[in-house]
């Protein structure tokens, strides 16, 4: 089974040379720490920065330079700041090549829910609805099951949707899956995780063809 770092490391393999990438809050943010050697990627944050670097050294943090998670950050040479309209022009206009974000539920038809639990939790969608409605290449990073042990890969989402039919790939603590017309196609399984483990943790239709290799991180 993968831990959060493991999920982030596996996600990092999805980065390709020349990609502009938007990372959501949580596990996705960790991906920035594992960019493969020899490729160039730039990280965009929808609050208005391109070319994000690591956290600042203690004492060098600047209240005016944060990411979408409200964390203090630094920028790399070649970075730029811009307003919220231009930031979403990048997203909506498909200039961002890859979006990685968390989810509460993903359905076998590619629907995603990650912004609201009616009557319980209403934090808002932030930029997530724009991201999932616009990007061609969206990967969800999440635990395979919730705290109650229930599957988060469903036939249909039960929570209010963030976007419809937009998720292409999912990386969980148990597996890597592709969303296909037929359902969740299992691509890779986490070390020490059996096909049956994944079947038991997946409510939506699971498609298993050929041998399923182990995730290498």
């Amino acid at each position: 089974m993968l831990d959060k770092i493991g999920i982030a490391k596996r996600l990092a393999k999805e980065l390709k040379d020349g990609y502009y990438v938007n990372l959501g809050i949580g596990i996705p943010t960790l991906v920035a720490n594992y960019v493969p050697e020899g490729i160039a990627v730039e990280f965009q944050s929808e609050n208005g920065v391109l070319g994000m670097g690591p956290f600042p050294f203690e004492g060098e943090e600047d209240a005016d330079i944060i990411n979408a998670g409200k964390q203090t950050i630094t920028t790399l040479p070649g970075a730029s700041f811009f307003d919220s309209a231009l930031s979403f022009s990048m997203i909506r206009g498909k200039h961002v090549d890859l979006t990685i974000l968390g989810a509460m539920e993903v359905a076998e038809n590619g629907d995603i829910a990650n912004w609201k639990i009616p009557g319980k939790m209403v934090k808002g969608m932030g930029g997530a609805m724009d991201l999932v409605a616009s990007a061609e290449n969206i990967i969800v990073a999440m635990m395979h099951t919730n705290k109650e042990g229930e599957s988060k890969l469903l036939k249909r989402c039960s929570l209010p949707l963030t976007g419809v039919g937009c998720i292409k790939k999912i990386v969980t603590n148990l597996a890597v899956l592709e969303v296909t017309e037929k359902g969740f196609k299992l691509l890779e399984r986490a070390p020490g995780v059996s096909i049956d483990d994944i079947k038991n943790a997946t409510e939506g239709k699971l498609i298993i063809e050929d041998d399923i290799p182990e995730i290498i991180v």
């Binding site: 944050s45 929808e46 609050n47 208005g48 920065v49 690591p54 956290f55 600042p56 050294f57 203690e58 004492g59 060098e60 943090e61 600047d62 209240a63 005016d64 330079i65 944060i66 990411n67 979408a68 998670g69 409200k70 964390q71 203090t72 950050i73 700041f81 811009f82 307003d83 919220s84 309209a85 930031s87 979403f88 997203i91 909506r92 629907d111 912004w115 609201k116 009557g119 209403v122 934090k123 808002g124 969608m125 932030g126 930029g127 997530a128 609805m129 724009d130 409605a133 616009s134 209010p160 949707l161 963030t162 976007g163 419809v164 039919g165």
Partner: protein, 233 residues
């Protein structure tokens, strides 16, 4: 040069009354109009509708207005950092409209730019699109969204001049430039009011035509919400 400078926040907020609709710049606590918010608390105006990406934290930013129950309705994209907000929302005291961040941005920009409406893909197929017109263009579905209407826009800039020209710093830019001119009256507070002619005309983020009043702000706290640092090894 048309002079937009006013002496202080009191003068800048003249005309503010109960039940108005405000736009407030900022993302989280970054780039928020601290002086204007403090003055709104002092004025005690109530029944406000606030268009702002976030709702502050319990004891800072728009949280200060929420504490005093001055806000009737929030129009935001993300409100997850504020317990008092959650309490008022769940109890029904506070009306909340959550909309996608890019839609929020463009509805400001549409108001600034004189566009009544535009089609955006964000929110299609979700409850955000309920009751709204949807339409297909080139095989993809879009939602019709409308320009905001507001009475005042409260803007925080880094530098500005008496002509109302504004320059922003880092990610404190965010919604501030696109809210300028998006309300009937735009009030800008700046960390540094510089002499006319000091700002490079090539490097002005918002020309003064979009700003009605500008003043030298004071006592900026610029609180950091999530202080994340590395230690030097």
């Amino acid at each position: 040069m048309i002079n937009k400078e006013v002496a202080n926040v009191q003068e800048a907020l003249k005309g503010v009354t109960h039940n108005m609709v405000f736009m407030l710049g900022g993302f989280g606590l970054c780039g928020i109009p601290e002086n204007a918010i403090a003055q709104l608390v002092k004025l005690g105006v109530k029944g406000l509708t606030c268009i702002s990406n976030n709702a502050g934290v319990d004891d800072f930013g728009l949280g200060l207005l929420l504490q005093k129950k001055q806000i009737k309705k929030m129009i935001s994209s993300y409100v997850g950092e504020n317990e008092e907000f959650e309490r008022q929302m769940l109890s029904g005291e506070l009306d909340v409209e959550l909309i996608p961040q890019g839609t929020l941005a463009e509805r400001c920009r549409a108001a600034q730019a004189g566009f009544p409406a535009f089609y955006t893909p964000a929110g299609y197929g979700t409850e955000v699109a309920e009751g709204k017109e949807t339409r297909e263009f080139n095989g993809k579905m879009y939602v019709l969204e409308h320009a905001f209407k507001a009475d005042f826009a409260f803007i925080k800039a880094w530098k500005g001049d008496a002509a109302g020209n504004l320059v922003f710093k880092g990610t404190a830019r965010n919604f501030n430039p696109i809210m300028c001119g998006a309300a009937k009256i735009t009030v800008a507070e700046v960390e540094e009011l510089v002499p006319l002619g000091t700002l490079d005309p090539n490097q002005i983020h918002i020309p003064g035509i979009f700003v009605q009043r500008i003043f030298q702000g004071i006592n900026y706290e610029k609180r950091i919400e999530q202080r994340t640092v590395r230690t030097k090894s």
